[in-house]
């Protein structure tokens, strides 16, 4: 008899947890923002932005998070017109063509002429607005590496150990794939083979890779040029530095858009405008550890060294070649 009560209790508690997760607090309109999980985590910019936006919008902001940008897109395409998303935030510029083709987002109709976006971004997309950007690079520990590699070629030829992310799951990993394709083009297979000799492991996401690096498991980790700023500002630690490669660096622009199936398109547009405000840009830069897209944001000096000379890759070319490039990576890195 005891066991029957046990099961009964379990069922009740299970049902309770099912129903509470779907409860909606009150009658305010709800804006659902799909994004990636490090954005919404307690140390990311999500919670602060939620508070700031709710203070002005007279609405309730709810985040729904996926592991990272790539799984965010996959989720959107699986959900199709049944999605609850009003705003999609955290895809990057390389994923824009695909997202538009699939009809998952709508035009924003915002006038960005009054927003002093950095000229280098050269932004004129009809659907997406940028909210931050960063350059991919390899981070190293100054105490361990006295003479850091000054080019990709030098890194590949060295016997330094490297951790990077899976290009299928994580946007930095995909960034490295594009970067290597840009530098080596038809010779990318050999570059990957060379890199696989230096690779400690390929992780699913950025945080696993970075945590392993911080524990001293590799000489270099793939990350952003802004990563040292985090150590300098939050930990007051000058130990970590970002490599500068003579071939140039690839930028990643993170973007947001209104979902094509949003029930609250006006509120969603309001959120996009909010993302581009000076204060918001400053919060994002210092919590998401990326560079602001506006040119008039005051940031600590630690951010100054994060700019690099940019290689350019058109999102359409990346889109066209993605599957082929993934295959190249998969067979070369899989030995």
């Amino acid at each position: 008899m005891k066991s029957r009560h046990f099961i009964h209790a379990l069922c009740v508690s299970g049902l309770l947890s099912l129903s509470t997760s779907q409860a909606i607090a009150n009658d305010l309109p709800e804006l659902t923002v799909y994004t990636y999980s490090s954005f919404t985590s307690s140390w990311g910019p999500g919670p602060v932005l939620k508070e700031a936006f709710e203070a002005v919008c007279d609405c309730k902001l709810t985040y729904v998070s996926s592991d990272d940008g790539v799984s965010l897109l996959n989720r959107l395409r699986l959900e199709g017109d049944r999605t609850r998303a009003d705003v999609v935030m955290g895809l990057d510029d390389m994923l824009m063509p695909q997202t538009k083709q699939l009809g998952l987002v709508q035009q924003h109709h915002l006038d960005l002429t009054n927003v002093p976006l950095k000229p280098a971004l050269n932004w004129n997309d009809s659907h997406f607005v940028p909210f931050d950007y960063g350059f991919f690079t390899f981070i190293y520990d100054r105490n361990r590496i006295e003479q850091p590699a000054t080019s990709m070629a030098e890194l590949l030829a060295s016997n330094a150990s490297v951790i990077y992310q899976d290009p299928r799951t994580s946007t930095p990993g995909q960034g490295l794939m594009h970067w290597i394709q840009l530098i080596y083009q038809n010779d990318a297979v050999n570059a990957w083979r060379q890199l696989s000799g230096n690779t400690v492991t390929v992780t699913k996401g950025w945080s696993e890779a970075y945590a392993m690096f911080l524990q001293g498991e590799a000489d270099y980790v793939l990350s952003y040029t802004t990563s040292p700023a985090y150590h300098q500002l939050v930990e007051e630690n000058d130990q970590y530095a970002a490599a500068t490669f003579s071939e140039g660096h690839l930028a990643q622009i993170e973007v947001a858009a209104v979902s094509a199936f949003s029930q609250q398109p006006d509120l969603a547009r309001e959120f996009l405008t909010f993302l581009l405000e000076v204060d918001t840009q400053s919060i994002i830069a210092q919590n998401n550890w990326m560079l602001p897209v506006r040119s008039d944001v005051e940031l600590p000096d630690a951010f100054n060294s994060a700019e690099r000379s940019a290689l350019s890759l058109s999102p359409d070319a990346a889109e066209e070649n993605r599957r082929e490039w993934l295959r190249v990576w998969r067979s070369a890195a899989g030995r």
Binding site: I7, Q22, S37, S71, V202, S207, R323
Partner: protein, 531 residues
Amino acid sequence: MPQAAKLNSQRYSQGLTLVSKQWLGLLSLGFIVTLSLLAFVSLAGWSGESAATYLWKDPWFWQVIRFSLWQAGLSALLSVLLALPISRALALDPKLPARRAFLRWCLLCFVMPSLILITGLVALLGRSGVLTPWLSDGWRLYGLNGILLAHIFLNLPFAIRVLTLQWQSIPSAAWKLSAQLGFSGWQRFYLVEWPVLRGVLPAVIGFIFLLCFNSFAVVLALGGGPAASTLEVAIFQSLKYDFNPSEALFLAWTQLLLAGSIYVMLSRFGRFQWLAPAQSGQSDWIPQQSLSMTLLGRIGYVMAWLYLTLPIMVLLPLAKQANWQLLLNTGLLSILSRSLFLAVSASLLSLVFALSILSVWAALRHSRWHMWVSSIALYPLVVPTMVLSVGLYILMMPYLDWYRWGWVAIVLMNAVVVLPFVFKQLHPRVASYQQQYGRLQADLNQDRFTCWRHIYLPYLKPVLLQVMAMSFVLALGDMSIFAIFGNDDWRTLPWLIYTLAGSYRLAEAALVSLLLLVFAYLGLRWLERSA
């Protein structure tokens, strides 16, 4: 009425009674068949894409197949080889301490949610693991090493249980005879012990091979990159990472073909017993062992204890450092109750499936029909879980909000996946019931409900509780079904552990692993007590 027509109408009315009395079982059968047909149809038809046959020419594809087979083969062989001396010692060395406890621990290890073990292995042998400083510089847990360590941990205990039972089944008369004839140790092994083992070894190796071939969580967590990927993980990745259904379809067919043919071969090897309650050795006559054999057995026994307990023990000190507040903030309590709710529902549902299908089975007369019914209940063994889940997911997407209803699919799919096991365990009991009470029951002419409640279920009760507990533990540890239907805001315990370990919160991962282990243990205690 002419004879033929009379016969026909009789058959017809028999058919009607079958449908009216066995509707639940027929519904279960239909459900399972439809589910799998639709899963494949939906995979094939997704956006009109056909299977990505270009993969034939992709070296990566062959690499994945090679690796899947290679790691499964190694895991199976090593598990069985290591199990041999240990089982022999368990069966023939009466001085071994704590044998009962060991065999019970083995049972827990075999069904242990693999995420618990993975956390333990990372804490023990990962880059900053407790034992890592004593290993050579080039040691890497991620890749084949980690996969083998985990697979052997999960399957060695199973092999030990089967082989121990096998050794114990040698009658003492045979031992006595071999002693009277003055056999040497080797002769005795060859003439007395080997014939008993030979019957089960291929089946045990094959079974472990199949389990490792279809392994998901271990390879996902410990694979460490594209170099060490199995088909099951590749299917998951091509869908959830690449969103490439045509490639997933091709990989799924490949896995189905390979796993299916392995299963067919395996089913020819015969059967074995492993769930029987562990005996504490024969009370009867046991032959004298040579000193070296005894020593080998004892060393193996001690090593097995260490191997099977260290990855769990290491969690205890680690869990003490866990940040409770962080866990409570991530909603540990609701994740826990959700996990328990899903696992209990799945195991209850699989019991309903199995009982209703067995009831159809019993009502049918022809052995050909019996075979069909059994093969429907058993076929989820052959079809990779991943294939079914993915097909169902895509199929129902236009009509269902998976975000809201994913949990229903998790319960359903877990029930379907454990069904073969439940069916196999219940089948002999139901068959013997039919033999002993079938006629009696017909004579008593009670209504079905009374009969089920007062005779049938009480008769099945010991086995029912046993399989219920086992399927509960299996569903509790599920990773692969959740990987498809779950989402980040709605995690279960294993997925929480995976996320925590992924972000290097090993202490918290250890604590949650222990929690999961406690519940798995409680489930199994129930099993052993009632068996």
